[in-house]
Symmetry: none
Subunit: 262 residues, 2 copies
């Protein structure tokens, strides 16, 4: 019997019972204890199981800090479904060879995860979680702007009040941002005032500023105002966008993509 057959059987037993004994496995696979021991070593080295005295058990999945951000693109509710649709539409706008900026937020994480196959892409971001989605892509050059670490519910970002020095000399084909709220009087608002400087600067460094807005953002006001709603060049949202916003963007001549909810 070959190794992969034994491995399959062992893992099968493991998933069924949560743990298996050495003798049990030997009986099932027909291999000697020495071989089974080596198999256990192998499984442990792969991180698929954990050795104990006389057997093997499933690795206890510890919910360590920081771990949860790695599933920051999971779809958990209806709003997340909207975010996913918006992210997909945004990713369809990106072409090979472009230079883009990605903001911080769950929509932006989802967006980043969809860019992996685009050739010769240059990405600049303040989102540590977006970096995780793209770090291993050899076709993508990723630059992370430095600063103090701030955590949101679904993302980690860097914030630097003096970031504008670093940005000098850059130009982006497209900039993709999310915000905490949009309001027709106050405009786009975010929770952290240190973000307003960066985002305002970015709006001057590109000709295509995309705002990614799910329906939870409308008529909400966060602490700090960034810029008025007509500053965005393009808005990507869903058909859940309130009528008065649709009306407003249309009057301002701002291209507004309203995706159908499946």
């Amino acid at each position: 019997m070959k190794y992969w057959e034994r491995e399959k059987q062992i893992l099968h037993l493991l998933e069924a019972n949560g743990a298996v004994s050495m003798t049990e496995v030997c009986a099932v696979t027909g291999a000697s204890v020495a071989t089974t021991r080596r198999d256990f070593d192998e499984l442990q080295k792969k991180g698929l199981a954990q050795r104990t005295h006389g057997g093997l058990r499933l690795p206890q999945k510890k919910e360590e800090p920081g771990r949860r951000y790695v599933n920051g693109t999971e779809i958990l509710d209806d709003i997340d479904r909207e975010k996913q649709l918006i992210a997909r539409e945004a990713a369809a706008q990106v072409r090979a060879g472009e230079s883009i900026f990605i903001g911080a937020g769950k929509t932006c994480n989802m967006f980043a995860a969809l860019l992996r196959d685009i050739e010769r892409l240059t990405v600049v971001t303040t989102s540590v979680t977006a970096v995780l989605e793209l770090a291993e892509c050899p076709n993508i050059s990723v630059t992370l702007l430095g600063g103090d670490i701030h955590t949101g519910k679904n993302y980690i970002e860097t914030l630097d009040p003096d970031i504008n020095h670093t940005l000098r000399g850059y130009f982006f084909d497209k900039v993709f941002l999310t915000v905490e709220g949009v309001d027709l009087e106050r405009g786009y608002t975010v929770q952290d005032k240190n973000r307003t400087g960066l985002y305002t600067q970015l709006s001057r460094m590109t000709r295509r500023l995309y705002m990614l807005l799910d329906s939870a953002k409308f008529d909400r006001r966060a602490f700090a105002t960034m810029f008025p709603p007509e500053k965005a060049c393009r808005v990507i949202s869903t058909r859940n966008m309130p009528e008065k916003f649709v009306e407003f963007y249309r009057r301002q001549g701002i291209s507004c993509t309203l995706l159908p909810i499946e």
Copy 2:
């Protein structure tokens, strides 16, 4: 029998069972082991299967990009056990209220994960993976230096050739670094030359420069030289450190902690 016929049969068997043995395929296709071996090579080169000893199996489900870095503190082998010991000893050196720098590497990730309960800690780092370990700690102020993203086997780091501007004005109580290799003639060496500038600068910005060295580092040379071995203030390693290094550090009067392997 032609190649594509065998290929079709092999793939069919693979999809049915998840894996096939060499002899099994030989029996079915009627070809010799040498030919079957070549077929296996071909399938692997095309990415349609993965070779193992004695057979072929389906390519294991690729874990999503970024995911693997989140388990960047797992202990998988003896060297990792050393790293964990070294990280624990290093963490014991850190006091509440201090300002420290953490380098990039698996040892540094483990080290960072052990700092979560220290009060009023200020951490500066270039390691994105270390940030993940500390991001959610309200008692720790984390600053991530910006730059281009580079990935190692167990870590993600930022590299910026002009980083020294950003560092101006900082002072660290302690700096914790790892390297790719130590050599008595060449000193500490790293793979990426852009790291040497930062690390050399750091050695001037603290009175306590700790080098975290597991036994895989000794007598290895990486591409770029940083600084001579006597530049470190303190070395944390294990009793596996070769005698000539022990001797060297002792003669230089460098404090050298050699942890017992459990």
